[in-house]
Amino acid sequence: MAIIQMIDLTKKFGKLTAVDHLNLSIEEGEIFGFLGPNGAGKTTTLLMLVTVIKPTEGKAIVGGYDITREPDKARQLIGIAFQDPKLMWVMTPWEVLNWHAKVCGLTSSERKERVRWALTELDLWGDRYKSVHAFSGGMRKRVEIAKILIQRPKIAIIDEPTTQIDIVGKHKIWNMIRELKDEGSTIILATNELYEADLLSDRVAIMHRGKLLVCDSPKKLKDSIVGGDLIEIILEKEAPKITIEELKNINRVVEVLVLKPNHLRIYLNRAEEILPQITEFFIKTHLPIRSIRMSEPSLDDVFAHYTGLTIEEAEK
């Protein structure tokens, strides 16, 4: 059953349409990932769901409550960890988290136990009485995440769960997010890290310029790109344009991306069968191969495919 439904959800800031007629349902108990380039409208969408900003048009139903008509009831079900930590600099993590837990209605024993647990797990226990003013960016982000992990709302929204966080911390937080799901929360994340989205999400939605481009499970999305397989080749010499055109004409090759003049990425179907043909092709054209690597497409490729933002483009 859908726990969140967005119907033509739209937000305009003056002339800019930050979120443009978004239609999406999020199922109870899933981890749902929002992907999209900077400025795509991910954060704006999430802020509308937690009723911090009001939609310009359309609506969203959160746990049965219309966010514009019954925002107070919707907020009882939902909690958010913000992209930028929202902490008053004069306070300590201890105060921030205890106050948050009280406001969210935890009993005193739950509060004590969970605050201690979150601070310990996130390596903040020793610094719990320091003012957040003296914290590094990653430490502040940990405090922000701790809020939602303590709250354990029915619907947990996490905007960029692990930006600024070191690699050990990332893995801890990913595990904690999975545990939160196991305890029955529905989780919505927004992220720019495709690896993170792939790792955690049951389904992802890719947004671009306020619009939804596609929404499905990571696996299906990867399968959906034509030329589902991928070969990366680094040559000893630069490949001339004509060679690339010829390469594209080989049966089953779908697309060739020139990452660098001597670095090609070939999208194709059933790579293992035509790999010999491709190596032969380069030998014939007198372009010795330095390295060759075959892989399945990642969410990166899905992202590039749908947003039209290619690495090729990024490197220009």
């Binding site: 802020l47 009723t51 911090v52 008053m88 948050h100 709302p153």
Partner: protein
């Protein structure tokens, strides 16, 4: 409902305690006002003033402590601006509490913290003047708490309406100039030109100063019946709490703070 309001208020009180520097300096300011200005002004004012006010020094001390209560209650807005800068406003709006509980809690918190801070200074003033009427003092304190609560509500209302820290600073400076000087905090109403005196009679600061002087037993200068002052204060705080809630809901949603 009450629990949420109190939690919000508690947070504002705690936050206030962090501003040790400001708290110490404001106490020094108060000391300078009475020990220097009040003392010298008392020697300067002529006999006819003393006839109206009794000892002018007492009259002044009782007035200036009320202006301190007022300015500390206004201070809540500075927290609101700081929070806007740190994005904390959005955090507060995302919590499972209603907007009404949030504004009410902040107005109470803002009022309570200024009251708790100024109460010892009020006691000092009362000790100087002589505490003859404990029951009146009690009533005065309750009324002054409501006054501080109303001032916080007013401050929040103005802050969320103009949403600009710089403008708020300037506006507040001007507002203070008028609201303090068009009240009986520093001079008795009989010395005011008629037009000023009329305005002073509709000024919550006048009511607050009056009720405090009534509590302190400085009766000669009261401009109204003390119960009308209490009524004035109640009207004042109810109005701004109500307006504050509406403004907070209207202005803070739909596009964030900026």
């Amino acid at each position: 409902m009450i629990k949420h309001v109190l939690l919000v208020a508690e947070r504002d009180v705690k936050m206030f305690l962090q501003y040790k520097f400001i708290l110490i300096l404001r106490a020094l300011w108060f000391l300078a006002q009475i020990a220097l200005f009040g003392f010298v002004a008392n020697r300067m004012v002529k006999e006819d003033v003393q006839i109206v006010t009794g000892n002018y020094f007492y009259f002044y001390a009782a007035g200036i402590v009320i202006t301190l209560l007022y300015s500390m209650a206004v201070f809540i807005s500075y927290d609101i601006y700081e929070e806007a800068d740190h994005g904390v406003v959005e955090y507060l709006l995302s919590l499972p509490i209603s907007r009404r509980e949030l504004v009410l809690g902040r107005a109470i918190g803002g009022g309570l913290r200024s009251f708790l801070y100024v109460a010892p200074l009020m006691l000092v003033v009362l000790l100087m003047i002589g505490m003859t009427e404990p029951f009146r003092i009690l009533i005065a304190f309750v009324a002054l708490f409501l006054f501080a609560f109303g001032v916080s509500g007013m401050s929040i209302t103005i802050a969320v309406s103009i949403k600009s820290h710089d403008r708020f600073d300037i506006l507040l400076g001007v507002l203070n100039a008028f609201i303090v000087r068009l009240s009986t905090t520093m001079y008795p109403v009989v010395f005011m030109p008629k037009q000023y005196a009329v305005l002073a009679q509709f000024n919550p600061l006048t009511y607050a100063a009056d009720i405090f002087r009534w509590g302190a037993g400085l009766e000669a200068t009261l401009i109204t019946n003390p119960f009308l002052s209490v009524l004035g204060i109640i009207l004042f705080f109810s109005f701004f709490t109500f307006i504050g809630i509406i403004f907070y809901e209207r202005r803070l949603e739909g596009g964030g703070w900026r």
